[in-house]
Amino acid sequence: MSLSRRSALLTGAALGIAPLSRAGAQANTIRIGVLNDMSGPYRDISGPYGVACAKQAVAEFGAQGFNVEVINADHQNKPDVGAGLARQWYDQGVDMILDVPTSSVGLAVAQVAKEKNKAYINTGSATSDLTGSACQATTVHWMYDTYMLAKSTGSAMVKAGGDSWFFLTADYAFGHALERDTAAFVRAAGGEVKGQVRYPFPSTTDFSSFLVQAQASRAKVIGMANAGADTINTIKQAAEFGITRRGVKLAALLMFLADVHALGLQTAQGLVLTESFYWDLNDRTRAVTRRLLPHLSGAYPNMASIANYSATLHFLKAVKDMGVAAAKASGTELVNRMKAIPCDDDAFGAGSIRADGRKLCPSYLFEVKSPAESKGPYDYYKLLGTTPAGEAFRPLNEGNCALVRS
């Protein structure tokens, strides 16, 4: 009896020590969870490259008195899968969730982060609602949104004479937001919206029917409110059906360097698009690209993947600034600290985060080069214009964000 009691005590002590020491290590470890599309249409935009960029930021941040761990998972572009993983991660001690493309998933995870009072930096979803009607004190939205894309690409197309539009829209939160924000700019510039088609996402591969409908509307511009493989298929099929040869312009409202690479310059040349990062912009962007390339298996970074680098660096700066214990205690306070200190990194330069969670950076309007103009690997863009950080995004008071009104 006494023996068994002693052994029971010993076992208890042993069991007690293990969690204690683990808890000790955990208390000094910041965990970052990269949640994105590792297997679907948006994989090549961030996916494994986004994970590598976050890890590179951790490596460059170096030892600052606490450990940093990066984990990742595939949300399969499904809001229920994404929200479930986020809940599980936050419960298991993940301090910040990063990336989260696909706006429907991005919005669902924002809700979970708010419930758990944990930091959430979105670099993947485009919907401007993340800092508008759905804004949260725990959310930061990094390098782009539908408003910024609409303002840059949409306004430029109208200015160039494209004053009547037909939208080809992916039927979910992102497509709707991009269509809404672009249509507003088209109308504001005196243009007209002739109609739209909303196609099922992500199960559509044939866009020819929709393109023919767009053509029948006699609009001068077909606005593609979609992304990734959908955009690639749309552009390919528009060329096949001779739509661009008949003088109708395609507006690639969201297109990344990886998409241009997949299309090839022969098909993509002349397209006008907006990104907030291009590797060949200046000395700093070229330097960070050189550092990243060995980890990206040949694919050059675009604004989405490299935003994970930039956001991770800034997040770690804020953690260091306020101390690990305080950072772990409240996601809201952590995000407030991120808003209080200025951002600066090689990818996006100097910037800041607004009260509604919007990270401010300039947006760049590019034109895709022709095969003859391209001098080397990933030499794809010509810079047409720059919108400064202060004007690139929706004015703070127009977003309907509760954080701003209060």
Partner: protein, 298 residues
């Protein structure tokens, strides 16, 4: 006259004709894929869920032949089905042949798993945004039909798909080989007693069904981006087509393939949001009214 039609239909007539034509083209892919499935199910009693991955492999084989061996589209149309069909034969020999005595469910699980593995391997190797494959020079360009711009290549797809469908149907229904195949479906032991090597015939049939998927893959490569998930998007629809046509019915899969392509095309005009679901709604209705499918024998 045209105005009256327009008023009745609610959309401009040219637009409608265009959509019917496009529906026919998509139907060509459904027909070719469901045909391969029907052949395999008819003889092997295996619901081949690897079919989508094999369609994708056909497209990738075309890309590889061009990028690595410099062989163009016409060579790909010949070689890709042989290569992919051969991988199908290996799969059949190694795995699928062990399941003939078991319930359908095991074959379904095995082929589904194999399909996912194949897709994963291609995704790891080639990424998800796809690889470019140009339309062959002989078939590029388009005809102006007045009501729409018709790419020559899409016309070719319909012709080629019809050719393969009719050829397959003729082989199975009208030739001695087809008679053996049909006989082996009914009474394998008896056919074997006549000195025919039934297991080998089954293996080759699986290879041929897979080769049909690969042909469809080569036909699709210049239209869609060649990417690892191109098959998984299509295969669920194709299964619905097979169920509607009647499992194992060759003629049924061809007719419903083209027919549902057209129905889907019309949905894209009237209510685009439902274009991905309309085929499943039809499937549910058909299953309620005729559980064996439109052309199936109960």
């Amino acid at each position: 006259m045209l105005d009256a039609i327009e008023a009745f239909l609610g959309v401009p007539a040219p637009l409608l004709f265009g959509q019917l034509l496009l529906g026919l083209i998509n139907g060509a892919f459904y027909a070719m894929l469901s045909l391969g499935l029907a052949v395999i199910f008819g003889l092997l009693n295996i619901i081949n869920f690897t079919h989508g991955a094999q369609f994708m492999m056909g497209a990738f084989a075309a890309w590889m032949l061009l990028a690595w061996a410099g062989l163009g589209y016409w060579w790909a149309l010949l070689l890709s089905p042989i290569i992919v069909g051969f991988t199908g034969i290996i799969l059949e020999k190694l795995f699928i042949s062990r399941l003939y005595k078991l319930d359908h469910l095991y074959g379904l699980l095995l082929t589904l798993g194999l399909g996912l593995i194949i897709e994963g391997v291609f995704r790891n190797e080639f990424g998800s945004s796809g690889l470019p494959y140009r339309i062959p020079a002989e078939l590029s360009g388009a005809w102006d039909l007045g009501f729409m711009f018709m790419p020559i290549y899409r016309g070719w797809v319909v012709v080629a798909a019809l050719f393969f469908c009719i050829a397959t149907w003729l082989i199975i229904e009208k030739t001695r080989l087809g008679a053996y195949l049909r006989a082996a479906t009914e009474r394998a032991e008896l056919v074997q007693a006549f000195g025919i090597n039934v297991p080998r015939m089954i293996t080759l049939t699986y290879g041929a069904g897979v080769a049909l998927a690969a042909v469809a893959g080569v036909l699709a490569a210049p239209i869609y981006s060649v990417n690892p998930q191109m098959g998984s998007n299509l295969i669920i629809v194709v299964f619905a087509v097979v169920v509607i046509g009647g499992m194992g019915s060759i003629l049924g899969s061809i007719v419903t393939g083209f027919g549902l392509g057209i129905v889907e095309g019309l949905t894209k005009v009237y209510y685009p949001e439902a274009s991905a679901t309309v085929i499943f709604v039809i499937m549910a209705i058909v299953l309620l009214a005729r559980p064996a499918g439109l052309f199936g024998r109960a």
